[in-house]
């Protein structure tokens, strides 16, 4: 099964709508609740990163009986140093983003902790792609 969702920069009001939709689907598929939780946490963080740091993006979700694969492709500033971005507590969030309760630098580490596999590719000035993979069984 394949789904696509669009994400706009700065739209914190709707940040989380993709994770909500994916959660609903996984519940309907009777996926184990701990896997749902992990997937939803990871997706939510990745979704908010597009809203907070990029200009716009598309989220591609593929589900089969083995696994869920999510690709978040954004147009944005890109990440110059991915290793550094993955460090706990590292953040370049602006003060206005921090005021909204984001910007603790915990997002990417959280994605890693809640997925079986994740990868980031990024090109400065072009955009970032985050891929998340969780087994469903």
């Amino acid at each position: 099964m394949h789904f696509e969702y669009h994400v706009e920069s700065g739209d914190f009001i709707n940040a989380g709508s993709t994770s909500s939709a994916v959660k609903k689907t996984l519940k309907q598929l009777n996926v184990d609740s701990s896997i749902i939780k992990r997937t939803v946490v990871a997706l939510y963080e990745a979704e908010v990163n597009i809203v907070a740091h990029a200009y716009k993006g598309t989220i591609y979700v593929d589900i089969d009986q083995e696994a869920i694969t999510i690709r978040l492709v954004d147009e944005g500033p890109g990440i110059p140093d991915i290793d550094k971005a993955m460090e706990m507590g590292y953040s370049t969030a602006s003060p206005s983003v921090r005021e909204m309760g984001f910007g603790a630098g915990m997002g990417l580490p959280n994605i890693k902790n809640n997925t079986d596999r994740m990868s980031i590719t990024s090109k400065v000035g072009v955009g970032t792609t985050v891929e998340i993979y969780n087994k469903l069984q």
Partner: protein, 465 residues
């Protein structure tokens, strides 16, 4: 052996003789548990959470709340009225607490205990539980409709439900102990809970964990309100003895069943109280998405204004809340002197944990088997895309989405959709008799009676030139 699901008790009873098939209840039900078939509302017991929204909305009084026969109290030598504080709060100010108390004895009870009597002893266990729990937020188990809502609609959150006995059960346990300590066997003691709602009844008759309730029966609050009021009017019990001698409960006990009653006693600053079933659902969606951080405790209640807004409460919910608040304000802040807390506090504190586990009973999953579920989901989406998204309910399901699900789960026919019928008719794929038959299957014969044409013709005057 019956599985738990099959024996799941519901206090709500749909009366076919009174049901007009108006579908108000179907449209209001927060778990889409109701369908209209053959002109009558039908309840799906696996989806119902006993919140009572259908009861509240039914214009014809066709939904009732099953209670125990009042005479059942006489099966016991000691007949205890276990009375939530919102009961007394419903009476007008001129009715005093001692009068209510005396009236309860006069109609047959031998003892009266207030449900919230055990609240002071639950404070410590509550806070310890929250501090220790790994599943945050801890969600209160006080409101049985909320526990059931989580079981069926938010199965990923069942482990967040607090496994502590609500005051109703903690007080019942305490009453049992008092009588046993006096050497009276518990078989001679009948505890009758005066319920403000259907959910409490369901919670007593089929508890969320496998722990049996100590409560022997339930009396509906609206019934008892009338009976007690009449008893007071017909007797002169005297208002002499002052309120203090009747029941003395702490402020926190008296606030308990009102909204924020529980968050008051919780030490953590990260806590919230939410009432009204749809508000709760909206919030739990967020909790389930993990998009809400730093909440340790959630007090969730199915009714607006919590128990003061219970479906069986006779009084106006705001007046009831106001009266309950006034009583709490008058009371001294600390707990009771006329109850032997020294002796029983420890007992309640160390026995108030619920044994067993709350099991999920998902109504969201489309199939146990994931491959099957995927197939069904695909078909549901395909069908739903063909439906008009008007959510008119004419098909007998509460929304187009529900109809699509019902079709895929083999509980409905796509031709039940009036728009689908019209599309087929335009292409000569469906005849008028069949279309009328389909409507009759859902709405019964009466509403589509051919002979009504005469009256209708008079009204719209179709025959006039």
């Amino acid at each position: 052996m019956k599985t738990k699901e099959e024996t799941f008790y519901h206090a709500l009873e749909f009366r076919k003789d009174l049901c007009m098939g108006c579908s108000h209840c179907m449209m209001k039900c927060p778990t889409q548990a109701i369908r209209v078939i053959d002109g009558k509302a039908e309840l799906n017991p696996n989806r119902c959470i006993d919140c009572g929204e259908c009861f509240r909305t039914c214009p014809y009084g066709a939904i009732s709340v099953k209670q125990d026969d009042f005479e059942k109290i006489y099966n016991y030598k000691y007949r205890i009225a276990l009375m939530p504080s919102v009961f007394t709060a419903q009476f007008p100010d001129k009715v005093t607490y001692p009068e209510i108390y005396k009236a309860l004895l006069s109609i047959g009870f031998t003892h009266v205990y207030e449900t919230e009597n055990s609240v002071d002893c639950l404070v410590k266990p509550y806070n310890e539980y929250i501090a220790k729990s790994e599943e945050k937020p801890v969600i209160s188990s006080f409101c049985p409709a909320i526990v059931r809502l989580i079981q069926v609609r938010f199965p990923t959150l069942v482990d967040n439900i607090m496994l502590i006995k609500p005051p109703m059960d903690a007080t019942a346990m305490y009453i049992k102990k008092i009588f046993e300590d006096k050497g009276i066997p518990f078989s001679e003691v009948g505890i009758f809970y005066i319920t403000p709602c259907a959910a409490k009844i369901a919670g007593i008759k089929s508890p969320a964990t496998d722990e049996e309730s100590l409560i022997s029966g339930v009396i509906n609050m609206d019934y008892l309100y009338n009976r007690i009021y009449r008893e007071i009017k017909q007797n002169s019990f005297g208002k002499d003895s002052d309120e203090e001698n009747f029941v003395q409960m702490s402020k926190q006990s008296l606030y308990w069943s009102l909204t924020t009653g529980e968050v008051r006693i919780v030490d953590t600053p990260h806590k919230m109280a939410i009432d009204q079933i749809n508000n709760v659902i909206e919030f739990l969606e967020k909790v389930e998405n993990e998009s809400i951080e730093d909440i340790d405790f959630l007090e969730l209640r199915a009714c607006y204004q919590s128990c003061a807004g219970g479906v069986l409460c006779a009084g106006n919910k705001f007046m009831t809340t106001d009266r309950a608040n006034k009583r709490a304000r008058r009371t001294s802040p600390n707990s009771v002197e006329n109850v032997d807390w020294e002796k029983y506090a420890d007992y309640i504190e160390s026995n108030c944990l619920l044994t067993g586990k709350v099991e999920p009973r998902s109504i969201v999953k489309l199939d146990d088997n994931m491959v099957e579920a995927m197939k069904k989901m695909k078909r549901i989406n395909e069908i739903n895309n063909l439906l008009p998204q008007v959510d008119c309910g004419i098909c007998g399901s509460p929304s187009c989405q529900s109809l699509a699900e019902d079709i895929v789960q083999n509980n409905a026919d796509m031709k039940k959709c009036i728009f689908v019928q019209k599309i087929l008719q335009q292409n000569d794929k469906l005849g008028l008799p069949e279309s009328i038959d389909l409507m009759k299957q859902t709405w019964g014969v009466g509403k589509l009676d051919k002979n009504l044409v005469h009256e209708i013709r008079d009204e719209i005057e179709v025959d006039k030139p």
